[in-house]
């Protein structure tokens, strides 16, 4: 340690000087938005649930039916997020790297699930996959039930979460340095070796981010699932649907209790994914 450093001048200014504009104002607006839009509603949610007391909370939020709903919600969302992030990687790769007619149209179509009311998606999917539907006619005799089943839930969750998985990965693939892929080929790597050893480590952090966004989107989805799942308790009832049915019974505190558990589960899963993402990103640097 060098102890001969000159004493640092008294710290008169807390804010470091910068020529970049608008830091003070933008910080104020940001905090206001986060408090007003996120923190206060969440606090109300938790307070409302807390009004039940510990025993009442458990009785409302940890019933067998509620536990089954959490399991369906988390399971279907995880499955959908995994499918979306893998499929999203593939679609993003095709959109960036392949030149084909209609590429721009396909690129624009990616955003459609974001703009469409998800209830419409749920209705369309259930019409397609019921026994008499266009796809159901073929699939149901084969034993594949796309409507009123967990498979149906996963299908619509993939539909609503796929755009996130694509749009997060796409710019990262665009920014890839093609030199490194050429270098790998010149060093004797096969196409799959080049992808797995050189390309994938660079885009994996983005794929994981896409997974996190898709998961978050899927966990909160209600509109499309309610139409396709059939909402059978213990089978195809997801937590948000259970919350709504509690609300319809005017059991507001019970509904918020279930919401708090769902929130806690979602939050902890997102934190795990974020930590993983940061580790990968550090490694990829």
């Amino acid at each position: 340690m060098n102890t001969n450093q000159p004493p640092s001048p008294p710290n008169r200014r807390v804010r470091t000087r910068t020529v970049l504009p608008g830091f003070g104002l933008s910080a104020a607006i940001t905090s206001l938005m986060i408090v007003g839009l996120v923190l206060i509603p969440l606090a109300v949610l938790i307070l409302r649930a807390a009004s039940l007391g510990p025993a009442g909370f458990l009785a409302a939020a940890w019933t067998p039916r509620a536990r089954a709903a959490y399991a369906v919600s988390l399971g279907a969302s995880l499955a959908a997020a995994i499918i979306s992030s893998l499929l999203g990687l593939l679609v993003a790769w095709v959109l960036v790297r392949l030149e084909f007619p209609g590429r721009r149209i396909l690129d624009a179509l990616v955003d459609v699930p974001l703009a469409l009311p998800t209830a419409v998606a749920g209705l369309v999917y259930s019409t397609l996959y019921v026994e008499k539907g266009w796809l159901g006619q073929i699939l149901v005799p084969m034993g594949i039930r796309g409507a009123y089943s967990r498979l149906g839930i996963v299908l619509v969750l993939v539909f609503v979460s796929l755009p996130f998985a694509i749009r997060v990965v796409q710019p990262v693939i665009e920014s890839l340095d093609k030199d490194t892929e050429e270098a790998a080929r010149l060093l004797g790597a096969s196409k799959s070796q080049t992808f797995l050893r050189v390309v994938l480590p660079g885009i994996l952090p983005a794929v994981v981010t896409g997974f996190a966004l898709a998961l978050a989107r899927a966990l909160g989805e209600y509109g499309s699932v309610v139409f396709i799942s059939g909402n059978m308790p213990f089978k195809t009832e997801i937590a948000p649907v259970l919350i709504v049915s509690r609300l319809e019974e005017f059991a507001y505190a019970e509904a918020t209790a279930i919401a708090v558990v769902l929130l806690g589960m979602s939050l902890s899963m997102l934190i795990v994914v974020n930590v993983l993402q940061q580790r990968l990103a550090r490694n990829a640097q």
Partner: protein, 361 residues
């Protein structure tokens, strides 16, 4: 391993990158492809590497046609301008990559990488990530990685282009020594004539998809084959003049030019290199007229010193564009010219190019 490029053409859409280029690179040569951007030099290098395919023509290695052979089967070491290192891998793993994908035994990989780390003088940096290295170190890692697969040809695309001046010169000299030690056939692309002349055995000057001139650095510099080469090598005074009867005239000053003995006068371009001009203070009085026979009267505008060379900018007395004269700084100081002084300028050497050589009978 020798390389032979035979009548290679390549277009990108309407842009003709290479137009029927042929080139021989004998075993052990260090050859520079020199040219401005868009001249096709990088495309040619990438075709030799197998990263691009020619529209027509052939590439041969030691007499074997390898035109259709894929990049990964060409045994080519390639160094990219921006290093193209694998960012997520350590320096060690970067260099080991080519051996890893070939499933070489761990002990062999370790020995070879250590040997290469020593060769590129990065012995203790194997565990670093590329981001933790300087530009010069990164480029040496890239070179070690290219050499790890024991290529038979080494290709370098503007290898020093992204480095600062001092590192560039060091790395250049180091590469020359390395080439002398391992003697591998090496082709590198550059737009920097100094780099090409200092490093290469042979220089190939390219322009608009074809080879303008090929030769030893001295030949290319002393006997530029075309106005383009002369211009590209830079630092040249260009004037419109005329030729007749074995003389070229530059601002009325006759210069011996035996290549054009015809009586019919023709327009020509006269090229004078700044360091091939003599400058002297004109004797006072009406002497500028007296000297007019063999030298040009001019007025000093300014002097600019760039290290060992001082450049004197003069305005010819009869008008026309400014003329640059380069002198060693010591000589310039001794001469002590001031702006506004009259001088006489005598060319020691000129080059004359006629605009359309086809018309010369």
């Amino acid at each position: 391993m020798s390389i032979r490029v035979d009548g290679v053409s390549k277009s990108f859409g309407a842009f003709k990158a290479l137009d029927n280029v042929s080139l021989d690179v004998p075993q052990g040569t260090l050859l520079a492809l020199l040219g401005p951007s868009g001249s096709g030099k990088t495309t040619l290098l990438r075709i030799i590497a197998g990263l691009e395919w020619p529209d027509s023509g052939r590439i041969e290695e030691d007499g074997t046609d390898i035109t259709d052979r894929h990049a990964r089967q060409r045994d080519v070491g390639f160094v990219f301008q921006h290093y193209a290192l694998f960012r997520h891998m350590s320096v060690f793993e970067n260099i080991a990559f080519g051996m890893r994908v070939r499933k070489a035994p761990q002990a062999e990989v370790k020995a070879r990488v250590d040997e290469l780390l020593h060769l590129v003088r990065l012995d203790n940096l194997g565990s670093r990530k590329p981001a933790q290295l300087s530009g010069g170190q990164r480029q040496r890692v890239a070179l070690a990685r290219a050499l790890a697969i024991r290529p038979r040809i080494l290709l370098l695309d503007e290898p020093f282009g992204a480095l600062d001046a001092k590192v560039r010169v060091e790395l250049r000299q180091w590469l020359r020594r390395l080439h002398d030690e391992i003697g591998m056939t090496t082709v590198f692309v550059t737009h920097d004539q100094e780099e090409a002349f200092e490093l290469a055995d042979d220089v190939v000057v390219m322009n608009e998809g074809h080879v303008e001139q090929r030769g030893k650095p001295d030949e290319v510099f002393d006997k530029p084959a075309s106005p383009f080469v002369m211009d590209f090598l830079g630092n040249v005074n260009v004037y419109h003049g005329r030729v007749e009867n074995g003389l070229a005239f530059w601002h009325g000053v006759p210069i011996h030019y035996p290549d054009y003995p015809h009586a019919q006068a023709r327009e020509a371009r006269v090229y004078l290199r700044p360091h091939e001009l003599d400058i002297a203070r004109a004797p006072s009085g009406s002497a500028s007229e007296a000297h007019a026979g063999t030298s040009l009267a001019a007025t000093v505008l300014r002097q600019t010193r760039t290290g060992p060379i001082t450049r004197i900018t003069c305005q010819p007395r009869q008008g026309g564009s400014d003329l640059h004269v380069d002198l060693p700084s010591a000589a310039a100081r001794e001469l002590g010219l001031q702006p506004g002084e009259s001088v006489s300028i005598t060319p020691r050497h000129v080059r004359v190019f006629l605009p359309d050589p086809e018309y010369v009978i």
